[in-house]
Symmetry: C2
């Protein structure tokens, strides 16, 4: 701790060699004698040398860092994706900035500028909008995971489920159990409706395909005010107290489903028999609640993996032949639809 910071230059002087040689040794590049190598390494270690990342990045015009931008890391659907993406990137030698926008579009765009300044090599959006500020000249590759909408960036790829189909399957599951009046429950931030819109589509499509008349009183939509759980509970309570009847609920999210189930339970409804409920995400919420909530596994591991694969390919400068990667999904039935 003699000097404020020990640089490659200090090592060079101490070892009696040039900075070029030190750099070579430290990076396993070029050529040097075994003897020099050992000496340099020894001194570097003794001095507690740590490479200055800023200098390296400046010189190389690359940071080996990518940004992961997500609306809410405290939501475990997103946090799991973030963690997996981060893990795969790490294996590939990339560090990640994890950026939480708290569903705030302004923050999302301010992050983009900030990250551009930080010279990230790529950006991964998880959830939220695909709203890259147009003034921002993003020329790094961008991957959108569970995202909808275009952003106008040159090199970008979308990875996610077929959302209309996913909710179609949810709806079909309920009708398949003999439900006659199926409600839709959705809680979302108004500014971020694109994904919810796609998700709701499957519900509408199913009704249409089967000649079932849409009852707008059974479309329970609310803003994301407090937590989706509480919000959903309220929506269902209001609906019940208005006297509307239903025997099935397609809930766009497990937390929403949990809120729905809670409201029903409080009204003495036997969830799973009298009213069937299906959520989406296969989160821990759906597993721990009683009764256990039927849901849809969205194959997030695959999303993360394919997303990172695509990003790495773009980073390598490869051209991708598909700009949209569709990930499968799977309905998981539990007590709230099986009634077991």
């Amino acid at each position: 701790m003699a000097k404020r910071t020990v640089s490659i230059y200090d090592i060079a002087k101490l070892a009696g060699v040039s900075t070029a040689t030190v750099s070579n040794v430290l990076n396993n590049k070029g050529s040097y004698s075994e003897k020099t190598k050992e000496l340099v390494l020894k001194i570097a270690h003794e001095q507690g040398y740590v490479a200055n990342f800023a200098a390296k990045s400046l010189r190389e015009a690359s940071t080996k860092t990518v940004a992961i931008i997500t609306p809410d890391v405290s939501n475990d659907f997103f946090s799991n994706l973030v963690l997996q993406v981060e893990g795969h990137l790490r294996e590939a030698g990339y560090s990640s900035y994890i950026c939480n926008t708290a569903n705030d579009p302004e923050r999302e765009s301010s992050y983009v500028f900030d990250l551009l300044s930080k010279q990230v090599d790529g950006i991964v959006f998880i959830g939220g909008t695909a709203r890259v500020p147009i003034e921002a000249r993003v020329d790094v590759p961008v991957v959108h995971i569970d995202h909808t909408g275009r952003s106008g960036v040159r090199r970008e790829v979308f990875v996610g489920n077929d959302l209309p189909r996913l909710s179609y399957d949810m709806t079909a599951t309920l009708f398949g159990h003999g439900c006659k009046q199926v409600a839709l429950a959705s809680v979302s931030a108004s500014l971020y409706r694109t994904a919810e819109h796609d998700q709701a589509a499957g519900y509408y499509n199913y009704l249409q395909d089967h000649g079932i008349r849409l009852d707008k009183n059974l479309v329970l939509e609310g803003p994301y005010r407090q937590t989706s759980l509480v919000e959903a509970e309220q929506l269902v309570t209001e609906c019940l107290e208005s006297g509307y009847a239903f025997d099935g609920v397609v809930a766009l999210g497990d937390r929403v489903a949990l809120g729905v189930a809670n409201a029903l339970k409080k009204h003495g409804v036997d969830v799973g028999r009298e009213v069937r409920v299906i959520g989406m995400d296969d989160s821990i919420y759906s597993r721990i609640s009683t009764p256990a909530i039927s849901t849809v596994n969205r194959h997030t591991s695959e999303m993360a993996e394919r997303g990172v694969q695509a990003l790495l390919a773009l980073l390598r400068g490869e051209e991708l032949n598909e700009s949209t990667i569709v990930i499968g999904h799977e309905v998981i039935e539990r007590a709230t639809t099986l009634g077991a």
Copy 2:
């Protein structure tokens, strides 16, 4: 997009001024005429200029960035802390690296080296160990939130609850309700036992203070294998099936408490009346489960706030007169102890 990247030099040339002036204008420093300012700003905007952070950091030997190291961002106790810390830092003009160690000590120490290389201005540890690798010459300030154990860093401060006292209060709550046989349930990674050790202490202390004999069969400790919830469920099940009786459980964590409650419910026990359970963290789990779980609010907002305050003070070069900041806590009683 004519050039690969537009630098301060390009702006200077276009505006017919020097880089020094451009730098001044862009940073509101030094002095310049209103006219120059407007011209520079206009050109910078036109060219889509974005400051190169690496160059700036290199020059200033400061990154205005701090690292937040945490064992598990998918645990909402930690993720909430992380988010709050990040928010406060952001307000103070600092960016954050969020680093997830996945409870892996190797990763924790590799992060430290990595971050040192990235020239972070400070480090915030949340949860986990306080194990800063001794070979690492950390001379940036370090704040430990909900952490125990010293690390040997020069400028560091600890912020957290009085854990022995916290669990003492939990235990007291159960005995206060007339419980006679109170068990302790704890799930933790063996490598990270320091915090759990402190937490368990309160339970032991209470028994000792009140002349209650410790029954080791009622100490339910398990490793963190799958999830603490499942693990706890298993521990309690085993205990019940071995024929040990208890009428109260101090669970070190809400997820643990939830697992305990689930196991009891499955065995037909009326949780809250026959057996009282108290968890810790006041997480969403304790609120959404039925019956609602009694818990301890650990004042995480205050932890985050005081922690960041301390870090900022250290960053400013101030000397702190206290190296340990104790945050209060509060028992929140719900159905699992009130039996309502």
